[in-house]
Amino acid sequence: MAELRVEGLTKAFGETAVVRDVSFTVSSGQFFALLGPSGSGKTTILRMISGFVAPDSGRVLVDGEDVTALAPERRQMGVVFQNYALFPHMTVWHNIAFGLDVRRVGAADKARRIRDALRLVHLEGFERRRPAELSGGQQQRVALARALVVEPRLLLLDEPLSALDARIRVEMRAELRRIQRESGVTAVIVTHDQEEAMELADALLVLDGGRVVQSGTPREVYTRPESDRVAAFMGRTNEFDAVVRSTPEGLVAELAEGVAWRLGANAGARAAGTGQAWPARVAFRPERVRLVRATPSPAGGRGPNVGADPGGPEARPTDGIILEGSVVAVRFDGPVSRVEVAAGTLRAECLVLSREAEELSVGERVRLWVPAADIQVFAR
């Protein structure tokens, strides 16, 4: 249990700047994720925290103590590697005992702590196995037990689940969360998988090109991304190019298709345009759409009726996004289904629970509404 503070970490390999001025704080007992695509510098940050890479500048502080110059073995950090890095010539017992042996822990205390660690990761009875005799998930549990048995101040996890099968990975996420909760250790995980980060972490940092592009709780970053890149990285999204205009009624987005939407006041905060009108990207998540069946329009074959009231030479803005169109496809994804709707040339994806999607059929006319509060606006 310790607080980690990282201040202005910077690292270049040769000419290539890999990490640029990264700072963040992980409070005691928190599960913190460094999330980013490959090449975003997240693993290098973890390796600077663990001491295997020396930063060009910046500091790493644990409970206020500067450990930047300390050798890895003196930092008291448990590290779990992507490929587990279990000692293949030792049994499970001796793998876990390694850190205690190095610390010269007495035999009775050692045996008790190893048994506690095995119980924590649900591997009682596997003491005499060798790593090669275990499944990937079991190996990862041993790696966790080995790192935790020495009661490290920090637990560092480097893509710990990416070598596992899809099914095991999802199971191990819950296990990892439980083990971190039960041990109470402060943990930092590096991952490229936003689902993993959202499921595991109390707080996360999104990295891109070695820089922090956003940080916050998973919910904050998912629902209020600060750029369209972050929005797309965190999950599926619908995006439209528009011109955003400041009007007395608030911000209004006008699309080339002749539609106008009135956006929430808060949306303007991230639309860093200047003057009266600026190009922007309007986005909303598929699950934010309220989808209802439209009563069949009396003049049936007249083509899609875009917007609530499209008539007149100038489109009157609607409150939030309102689209009327027809269902193009319903894709069954198990618990949820994705409904693709075409409204004129605009296309939008909606996410609904599968039991609700069962009532929809392809070709059916539907009305979509996204409240202003659920719309994101990014400057182009």
Binding site: A71, H89, F98, G99, V102
Partner: protein, 272 residues
């Protein structure tokens, strides 16, 4: 997992037959030597009169056993030296690779291709310049070591390079110093490589007659030298007896090494 393996094509049968033939090619001479060692006749004449005479002769009176002793001694010393010196060089190259690693590797590989007879001439000259005499017991050790070291470095470099550096890092994150991590993790995992290197050094010491011929002082007889001399003087079946024992010893040694998983290091099989 290939269920079609049972139906062999003609090409495959031919390849199998070849394999068997090649073994014959190699083992018939060894079997012949073994056969002769049990034949009472001094000239390998038939019919065979079964006898342990030549084994008795080997043990009493022949000069072969002291030569085997000397060769074993050189072999052990050179094997240990190859492992220790080779491991130091290979570890430096594996853990701190740089611009210098590649030319060094090429240079070591090149030394393997230099004919031993040429190397032995050079060493004779150097030793003569340094110690005043080209032939010495020290020279025997140094010469054999010079032949086995390039193999040792290259094999250990290969072994250490394929050891995951993360294993050492895992050990260090658990509180082990760099030295402890090497001692408790790297060393045990590289052990088959060490065994392979020791075995190769040993083999080199038994094979390089030519280096020993040029470097051994008068009266110092290694196994290749004494066998060579005794055959020049007159072939005697106690050499057959010795050969049979050595071949048996070699087979036992390989079986042990095989058990310990080092054969793949000798012959370069992937260990993943």
């Amino acid at each position: 997992m290939n269920g079609r393996a049972r139906r062999r094509t003609w090409g495959e049968r031919a390849a199998l037959a070849w394999t068997v033939l090649m073994y014959a090619f190699f083992f018939v001479p060894l079997a012949t030597v073994a056969l002769m060692s049990f034949n009472r006749s001094s000239f390998g004449t038939f019919p065979i009169v079964w006898s342990l005479h030549w084994y008795h002769a080997l043990l009493h009176g022949s000069g072969l056993l002291p030569a085997v002793g000397l060769s074993l001694e050189i072999g052990v010393v050179v094997a240990v030296a190859s492992v220790v010196l080779g491991a130091m060089a290979a570890y430096a190259m594996a853990r701190h690779p740089g611009a210098w690693t590649r030319p060094f590797t090429v240079a070591f590989a090149a030394t393997i291709t230099v004919p031993w007879i040429i190397l032995s001439i050079g060493m004779n000259i150097v030793l003569a310049t340094l110690t005043g005499q080209g032939n010495s017991v020290l020279g025997l050790y140094v010469g054999d070591l010079a032949l086995s070291l390039p193999y040792a470095v290259l094999v250990l470099l290969a072994r250490l390079s394929q050891l995951d550096a993360e294993l050492e890092q895992a050990a260090r994150s658990l509180g082990a110093s760099a030295l402890t991590a090497f001692w408790r993790v790297t060393l045990p995992l590289a052990a088959p490589g060490f065994l392979a290197v020791a075995l190769m050094a040993f083999i080199v010491c038994f094979n390089n007659f030519i280096v020993q011929y040029f470097l051994a002082p008068f009266g110092v007889q290694t196994l290749p030298l004494v066998v060579y001399n005794s055959i020049r003087v007159g072939y005697s079946p106690d050499i057959d007896a010795l050969s049979t024992l050595l071949v048996a010893g070699a087979v036992v040694m390989v079986l042990v090494v095989q058990r310990l998983g080092a054969v793949r290091d000798v012959v370069g099989r992937r260990s993943g």
